[in-house]
Symmetry: C2
Subunit: 324 residues, 2 copies
């Protein structure tokens, strides 16, 4: 294995553990998208995943390894919403109590999913409070196990099952575009694909206002974004790449690029009109890289694009994505 402690075997074991709990998402395509790019574009719609994002994979991967004692005590997670919804769903399926620490302005569908799964919500003010210490204090006080959003090998191995499925569904893939927030999806997916399809180029995508991994990739070390992160894509507002995810992404990715906010809205619209799927801003960045031309498609090449989530409410969607 080229990097870190994440191996293909680790990802295959995660796939075995989460089967039956998560969906094997299909590949979708649209003639309009092929016509626009000149390539064969296949999207992996993790917006159709249980809990509405790929995060269900990592949550089930980690939580299926809880000891009986840990299960009895319960778990805690902090999240902009999608990881929290995934942990709440996994807790519900596995019969475990969960507390989820979320910003008070988290999107309604993410909060609704957490509530409907019966998890306890602890809101915080992202302007004034830090979520990690809040979650850590709850964990310590109540003896709960923390389920980290990305910087954990079991979580990364779960996210890597996206790459396993892609390798089977599109064996001759030339280029794979993956969103980057904390880097867990990208680390897992690239570990699977660089083992199984070494010829595939893998490019991570961030919003220009939260391009910490792009800057770190160029610098060769973990650096933040001067002035802090600013993007509509709340799921990608990591201020620094993960300690564990970054070395893997630095070793395995072929490139990291960044897209404008307007291009994210355009990709959400293409998702709606041509793919018939609802993509949240964070989930649309990889598609935006392609449809905006930030990434150039080789003619007739086979491109896989991961749409990482769809938890956005209709009012916000309609506000961001102007009907034409």
């Amino acid at each position: 294995m080229p990097a870190g402690e994440l191996t293909l075997a680790h990802i295959r074991a995660a796939a075995d553990r989460i089967t039956g709990h998560v969906r094997r998402t299909p590949l979708l395509s649209a003639p309009a998208l092929d016509a626009l790019t000149g390539a064969q574009v296949h999207v992996k719609p993790e917006c159709l995943q249980r809990s509405g994002s790929f995060k269900a994979r990592g949550a089930f991967s980690r939580m299926s390894r809880l000891t009986p004692e840990e299960r009895r005590a319960g778990v805690v997670a902090y999240s902009s919403g999608n990881h929290g919804a995934a942990v709440a769903l996994a807790a519900h399926d596995l019969g475990v109590q969960a507390v989820v620490v979320v910003p008070q302005d988290a999107p309604a569908p993410k909060l609704a999913m957490i509530e409907i799964c019966g998890a306890q919500i602890r809101r915080y003010d992202p302007e004034r409070e830090q979520r990690e210490p809040i979650a850590a204090a709850i964990a310590a006080e109540r003896g709960l196990t923390m389920v980290p959003p990305f910087d954990d090998y079991d979580v990364m191995a779960g996210q890597g099952t996206v790459g396993l499925e892609l390798a089977e569904q599109l064996p001759d893939v030339d280029l794979v575009l993956v969103p980057i927030g904390g880097g867990g999806l990208c680390a897992g997916t690239s570990t699977a694909l660089k083992n199984l399809r070494p010829s595939a180029r893998i490019v991570g995508v961030e919003p220009v206002g939260a391009d910490d991994t792009r800057r770190s990739f160029v610098a060769g070390e973990r650096v933040g974004v001067p002035g802090g992160v600013h993007t509509i894509a709340e799921g990608l507002r990591a201020s620094l790449p993960g300690e564990l995810t970054f070395p893997i992404n630095a070793a395995l990715l072929d490139d990291v690029v960044a897209v404008q906010e307007d291009d994210i809205y355009g990709a959400m619209r293409i998702g709606f009109e041509h793919l018939k799927v609802v993509i949240e801003p964070s989930g649309a960045v990889a598609l935006a890289a392609l449809t905006s031309g930030v990434v150039t498609a080789e003619p007739a090449s086979r491109i896989a694009v991961v749409l990482s989530g769809g938890n956005v409410d209709l009012g916000r969607f309609a506000e961001l994505v102007r009907p034409g």
Copy 2:
């Protein structure tokens, strides 16, 4: 076989012919939908089908049986949009010329799909012209083969592959809800399911303003809607059940119900927010029957709902479906 000339063998043969051309759509579910109904609800999202609706199944089923002479000459179809888009896509895949007769107010995504597949569009004014004679005249003049939208056993057999897939994906299904326009999807699906899962109840769903099949089901013969059909669901504006589809539906359906326009919009919204799929008005009636309470779910029963299409543009969607 209980009715008509449509058999399970016919549907299985259609499935073999269309494999590789159409998608096997997944089943999706949402905790919110289960909580709302008290049942286990699984949707079959044909909005994710190639061409954006189930119509691709029937078009490929019929057109894969064209003789070499018929292929060289080409085909013609009339359609409110979805059947036209499906015929255009099949024509593109099979290397056949196609002419599609559509109303001048057809939704933009349906026209875009027809155009991008390279089919020729012939617009007509639905207030002043009849589409069948226009298509028949084009067929006669140019020696083209007509691909009917529903009243054809090869087309029905293709649509019936939805039922084949449901029988495999949800073997213990208790209730299946299917939209009815001309009745081809319902006839095919119920033929497959009543053979493979005889205990499943199958209920057809129409808009109240286009409930010709419901009225005919009650009357025991094909009758129209007094005053004509009025519904936002342009794909379901059949004024009379099909000559071939109706006897099958009359024999096999357990019931036919009708839903209000507002309930259709509500179901489209649930599709967006909880299932992350885009459903057009016609595609949402079966879900509307469940979420409005027109059909009552037995507690903990297993319900399959066919979402038949997703070809609606964002402007129209946002106009119809008020964000809450």
